[in-house]
Amino acid sequence: MKKVIELKKLSKNFRIHKREQGLIGSVKALFKREYKTIEAVKKVSFDIEEGELVGFIGPNGAGKTTTLKMLSGLLYPSSGNCQVLGFRPVERKYEFLKQISLVMGQKNQLWWDLPAIETFVLNKEIYEVSDEDYKEILNELAEMLDVKEVMHQQVRKMSLGQRMKCELIASLIHKPKVLFLDEPTIGLDVVMQKKVREFILEYNRKYKATVILTSHYMDDVKEICKRIIIIDKGVIVFDGSIEKLIKKYANYKVLIPIFNGKVDSERLTKIGEVIENNGIRAVIKVGRKEVPKKASELLHEFDVDDLDINEPRLEDVVREMFGKVTIRE
């Protein structure tokens, strides 16, 4: 498979102005300014192949968006190299820009005072899309996202969900080969989130587009991405499949019994760590190797109506991971 995105020891530092709190701090800053350098991204290296769907996750301020901004040519790296589709993004060559798209959930490219369709027409010309291709893709995208009627109304009068869908269409009119999605489902309700996810998957399947997605919603990552890259404090701490992540960082499984009568949490502690228990349904953490033994104990010693044995949820693993992982340089 062809490498579409290559990062080699990519770093980005920001110089920020440090100021003491309050009025005195402001006055002092007038005469003497102190600066601090923040290493937002530290020697990050990874490759992404054509058609891959990659989840790029990490806590707030981990360096996700900064990395995406460097990959799309918005930010100059402080050191290291990156190539996207064989181009150096910072050169912002038209041939490169025509093949990428960056969707930022909280940023808006639609013209606020005009109907969304006007932005689509504008993007058609900006990206030099032929009339035939434009009609075809617009029809297809509008149908997939169900905005055929809405796109003719003024953007300012749209709901957040409608606007996000139109943002996606505006970003995809030119059928980009690489799609950077920064929190594409932020602020959307669960139904709309699901629709957007399905749409991204369908777009990837149909156009073999390479997609990097950042999101705080683990459902986005679970449903869309096979591979995840986890960044924390500017450093990559994991790169692999979701299964590999769970196996590597969660040495436990979750037993979820449903009881026929009320059961105290205290009695359940002999099975494992009780995460939650309402008397009838409990969630118990058990070491991977002990699962058969503990499940058998549970079935023998309690009046169990049903028992599920699950892998831990991705969000739990990630949450725990950020709590205890040792970051490797």
């Binding site: 959930g105 006007e118 010309e125 900006i126």
Partner: protein, 264 residues
């Protein structure tokens, strides 16, 4: 080229959405003009002539100022710096077009709508001046004058872009933008004809670019400059356009290296 044509059409469409706002702004400008005329009325109560201008010529000057302003006034630095600071400009930087051309094209569209809305008032003002004072705009002067205005638009736009791009380095360029406005108000010919300045001060401002924003185009429209003087002013004007174009290009290129794409 087609993409810029579509930008132009979209901005035309957008500006028509704001036609009410444009009309209100014109009223504000008109009130300023009326105030200035009253000030001069007071000045001319005891004088027949101020610095070579009689009352009629002075009124004609002030009638031409807002007409020239429609072509030469640029407000890019009132909005672009904020877009740079807030990172809103990111959405534009990742698109395959020349941002500067897009801004200029959009600005021309707004100006055309403004001209369309103001035109009847301008015609009425010129008709009143013609009727009461017997002063009219000659066709030849109007043609050359509007050609000069067209060039001045680019000078002011590149100057304003250079100020705007300072936002890549500075927290707030509002002060710079306001300073430009004050300088143009005082030394651009907006508040009074520049040849009323003391001679030494006039010599200095005659070498600076600010006179082109109002004073020079108004002088051309009034027929106060000879062909040679117009030619000389145009050469100077082209040199300043070249300078500010170069400056804005350099600032943009360096600014992109500093850009921090805040937000999100």
């Amino acid at each position: 080229m087609k993409k810029y044509w579509v930008f132009f059409k979209s901005e035309l469409q957008r500006s028509f959405e704001y036609r009410g706002m444009l009309a209100t702004w014109f009223l504000v400008e008109l009130m300023g003009l009326v105030t200035v005329i009253f000030v001069w009325l007071a000045v001319y109560r005891d004088n027949l002539n101020v610095g070579g201008y009689d009352f009629k010529q002075m009124i004609f000057y002030y009638v031409l100022v807002p007409i020239v302003g429609v072509f030469t006034n640029v407000y890019i630095s009132e909005s672009l710096p904020k877009k740079i600071k807030d990172g809103v400009i990111s959405a534009e930087l990742i698109k395959p077009y020349n941002l500067k051309v897009k801004i200029l094209v959009g600005n021309i569209a707004w100006r055309m709508v403004k001209l369309f809305i103001y035109m009847p008032i301008f015609v009425a003002m010129l008709a009143v001046v013609g009727y009461f004072f017997g002063i009219s705009l000659s066709f030849g002067n109007a043609m050359i004058g509007f050609l000069v205005c067209f060039l001045v638009y680019f000078l002011h736009a590149f100057m304003d872009l250079s100020i705007s791009y300072m936002a890549f380095w500075m927290d707030d360029v509002w002060a710079l933008s306001h300073l430009k406005f004050i300088v143009l108000f005082m030394f651009g010919g907006m508040s009074f004809p520049l040849d009323l300045l003391p001679e030494n001060l006039w010599k200095i401002f005659n070498f600076l670019p600010f006179k082109f924003i109002y004073f020079v185009p108004v002088s051309v429209l009034r027929g106060r400059l000879s062909s040679f003087e117009i030619g000389f002013q145009v050469v100077q004007l082209l040199a300043w356009i070249g300078f500010f174009h170069f400056l804005s290009e350099i600032l943009f290129k360096l600014g992109l290296k500093k850009y921090e794409a805040y937000g999100n």
